[in-house]
Symmetry: C2
Subunit: 556 residues, 2 copies
């Protein structure tokens, strides 16, 4: 089969007003960015707020492995499938980051015949949202150091600055730096560092704010560090919230594109799935729900991280009530969860699939805890055997969950019609009775423990002493009602990436906690979390170039 | 009078296809970015290459003072004036940088009733060009450190790395940093630093490349540092040129907007006027010349820097032949050149104006050396007195140069009709006989000396010994035919910013030289040049915010 970019390039895109018309969006509500990308105007979005919401469908997955699960691809494929069976549907995805695009993994707009297009633009600068976030974040950082330079009236402790800078690039050399060198004209020397833009709290804020006013309020709440007396200093005290909002006013508007099959697709925001909540923007999802009868969206990593945060952070904050979930599994990933090495995936191994189904089962049980009914989507790979597929289906049937084979990668929406019918029936059934996992009024420590015990099945939660003290101080400082955002390896239910399958009774160590007061959550970090990736020995950038026809090669 | 942003906000913009139609640009050649900004497609631009060029008019100025000269404002006003007298005209401007916008000076799209609009968008992210340059530059930097991290096959000397990183923000704390701290997983510790994006060589390259192929060739030529054996390492050797070109492919296309009076305006590129050449992109200027009968453009700083580089770098590289120049002067700036302090500018002082005219006279003489006929435009300020204006006119008349009063700030194009008639007549006269100041085959040292003696009227040129050795090595390495780009204070013909008026016989010290092999010039640095500005005590960002109607306040 052709590569993703070859398929995308060969596609004939429809003019965006036609795509918008499928959702009854008038053409003048579109702010065009080129001919095949647009933002929805804020004025138009404001007119939608009293409309009823359609049904929200979350696509999540088993624990990821190097074999790949295809969550975005399935989200796109399911959207196309729903459109094919005549439903009024919109898809909501996250925006890709330039860093991994030029580093390890290539594009992130789906794959095969289930892609959002124009895939090259989406994977590159798109409509500039991430650049706006970078600019707003770094303006705050510059204003912080500038405040210190001109006398430090706020008495900020330069040893206790929480705010780092951000760039949308994989650059390990920027993880730990010393800034302000070269004498008094260049500011105050201090330890600092850069994260990748998707790890910026500004990104998480953009994805959780309800409108521009709420955006500014949240930006003002960002805690940049501590004073000498240990009290917290906010972006508002630095006077940065207004200018940051101005820089973000266009980025805040959702972007509309289409799939290869012309299904309307909102791609907006892309916060990290570990130190943030890993979902596309609330404003995009809410807008889509006001326009479509069915909205298909995704969350980062496996269901233990992505779905939990989607439910406990995004749905809680946005008052969203999902009607159904789709749990994506692949035979390959189940085999790896069953102990097979990547090199041996090509060999039929039903026993390994059956062992790996323990991981699938755990995710099924977890999703049920939120009151959301689910379907398992088996994302088909060409090497899957009948016996392996039958093993997955049998496992699901035993649990009372339907498992549907989906061939969207090869067949587009034609390969997800069966899945779409099952999902639509489930969403229409009224079976959903969504509730977040824990109440706002549990303590921060209790919230961490609840997720650890109910979702990760930890036997014990070991919160570092300093982190526990920090949590208590935030608890008393009025941040007690915030949800928690767990930063844990995505490869295991435990904090040990090598414990595949469905481990239980393990000790979850919380080493560090961070307050994202603007985004509105407390991050609990279990294990080491990378917020600035590095480039591999042979970065993808080496192979990305324009060919003789001016077309992009090497994005895949 | 209302503020710039109030005037801009009150304006009724025409749909961009109508603006384009004034230059016979078909609507499908436009890639829209919102409703009032667009890029011209590369395919369309390629169709223009055999058309004859219109007449090119450079707007330059006397030596700048804190009083302000209004070069961009006059460029816009003159364009509007030419349109009013029935000429087919296009304006070419540089893109503003976010750094100064949130720092000291506010917007940079003209002022009063002579503005390019939408001024808020132009001053903020516009069409994302600067962000693309930031991304491309920093990808190269990441690939450089990554190469070293994975074994440093090219044997790059980490003590002799020339490439810095860039951000479009005023942030003094980033001028001098140490990167790569925190252990082996984070790369190799070394001294590094950030410049503002406009100072990136990638910016200069984007502004001098003729097409995407030339862009990639030039990007590949960027010298990132030296090997242990002192030989030069290029971006091409790091394999970054292809990916950088992909990141810049949209940014390379010129942007079209309009003035308040709907004159077509290309705003594209904005390299520093000290370590680079300070003009808008060659591709925008060339495109405008193929479409319009008259193209009005500007160059940074005073004529000693801006016009010289425009002629010796941009016109030389692009084969452009300007038909006329407009030298902008203000009574206020002449007074300051005549020794008046800023606080005393409100008082009539004809003698100071007459003394200050020495500066004007020197610039007139200099422009004549290039064979370009000129008009002096007196940019009117309300406090100017009749006697002061008469003094300027009398001075110019003595030199055989017409001086025309222009009131575009208050009156828009109606205030520049007389100027437009004079300029059009001059451009039509065939009087121009343009030639650069020096030939390609002078040595690099001779080129520096030529500019210093003929334009700055230095009595002596003192090139630091190490810099001279460096020039000789580049001379021998095949860079001998490059023009020189002088980085000197803009406030004086000398390298001492306090020597106003028309100093001569001074000693020009060249302290440092830099090779911009991709852009295609050698930078000679005289005095200290700031490539990363800082924020002032009260940055403009503190006052920039959205008002209750969602409109931007504080950009001025």
């Amino acid at each position: 089969m052709a590569s993703d970019i070859e398929i995308a390039r060969a596609a004939t895109l429809k003019p965006l007003p036609e795509i918008a018309a499928a959702l009854d969006i008038p053409a003048d509500a579109l702010e065009p960015y080129g001919k095949t990308k647009a933002k929805l105007s804020g004025d138009y979005i404001a007119t939608l707020k009293d409309r009823p919401r359609g049904k929200l469908i979350l696509v999540t997955a088993i624990s990821p492995t190097p074999a790949g699960e295809g969550k975005t691809t399935t989200t796109v494929g399911l959207g196309d499938g729903l459109a094919r069976i005549g439903r009024k549907v919109a898809i909501c995805l996250r925006e890709p980051s330039l860093g991994p695009c030029f580093g390890m993994k290539g594009g992130a707009a789906g794959g095969g015949r289930a892609q959002a297009v124009p895939m090259d633009d989406i994977n590159l600068h798109f409509t500039g949202d991430f650049h706006a976030i970078t600019a707003a974040h770094n303006l705050l950082a510059a204003m912080l150091d500038n405040h210190i330079h001109w006398g430090n009236e706020l008495r900020i402790d330069t040893r206790r600055i929480a705010l780092r800078r951000v760039l949308d690039v994989n650059d390990r050399a920027l993880r730990a730096v010393v800034t302000g060198l070269g004498g008094p004209a260049n500011g105050t020397p201090r330890e600092a560092g850069f994260d990748i833009t998707v790890a910026s709290e500004v990104m998480a804020i953009l994805c959780l704010a309800s409108d521009l006013e709420d955006l500014q309020r949240r930006l003002g709440n960002i805690v940049v560090g501590e004073r000498v007396d240990r009290s917290l200093v906010t972006a508002r005290e630095l006077g940065a919230d207004g200018a940051m909002t101005v820089l973000l006013k266009d980025a805040f508007q959702p972007n509309l594109v289409q799939t290869l099959e012309h299904t309307p697709t909102f791609i907006h925001g892309g916060p990290f799935a570990n130190i943030a909540h890993g979902c596309n923007s609330l404003v995009a999802t809410d807008t889509a729900l006001r326009l479509a009868d069915y909205v298909v969206t995704e969350a980062g990593f496996g269901a233990d991280l992505g779905a939990e945060k989607f439910f406990d952070i995004k749905c809680r904050k946005g008052g969203l009530s999902p009607s159904a979930a789709v749990l994506v599994a692949t035979v390959r990933a189940l085999k790896m969860n069953g102990g097979v090495e990547k090199g041996d995936l090509g060999v039929e191994n039903v026993a390994a699939v059956e062992r790996g189904c323990a991981n699938l089962g755990r995710h099924i049980d977890n999703l049920k805890q939120f009151g959301v009914p689910l379907v398992v989507a088996i994302n088909h790979f060409t090497a899957d055997t009948e016996a392996e597929l039958a093993a997955v289906k049998a496992f699901c049937a035993e649990r009372g969950v339907e498992a549907v084979l989906a061939t969207h990668w090869a067949d587009g929406g034609a390969g997800t019609e069966a899945l779409a019918r099952s999902v639509a029936a489930l969403a229409d059934s009224g079976e959903a009775d969504f509730a977040p996992l824990y109440d706002d009024d549990l303590t921060l420590v209790e919230k961490i423990e609840t997720v650890a015990r109910k979702i990760y099945r930890a036997g014990e939660v070991d919160i570092d002493k300093a982190a526990r003290a920090q949590l208590e101080r935030w608890q008393e400082a009025g941040h007690d009602r915030l949800p928690v955002c767990m930063a844990k390896t995505q490869y295991s239910f435990s904090s040990d990436p090598d414990q595949l399958g469905a481990p239980e009774g393990h000790v979850l160590k919380v080493r560090e906690v961070r307050l994202s007061a603007g985004a509105g959550f407390v991050v609990a970090i279990c294990g080491s979390i990378m917020t600035m990736p590095g480039l591999p020995r042979h970065p993808a950038a080496l192979d990305i170039r324009l060919n003789e026809d001016g077309e992009i090669e090497g994005l895949f």
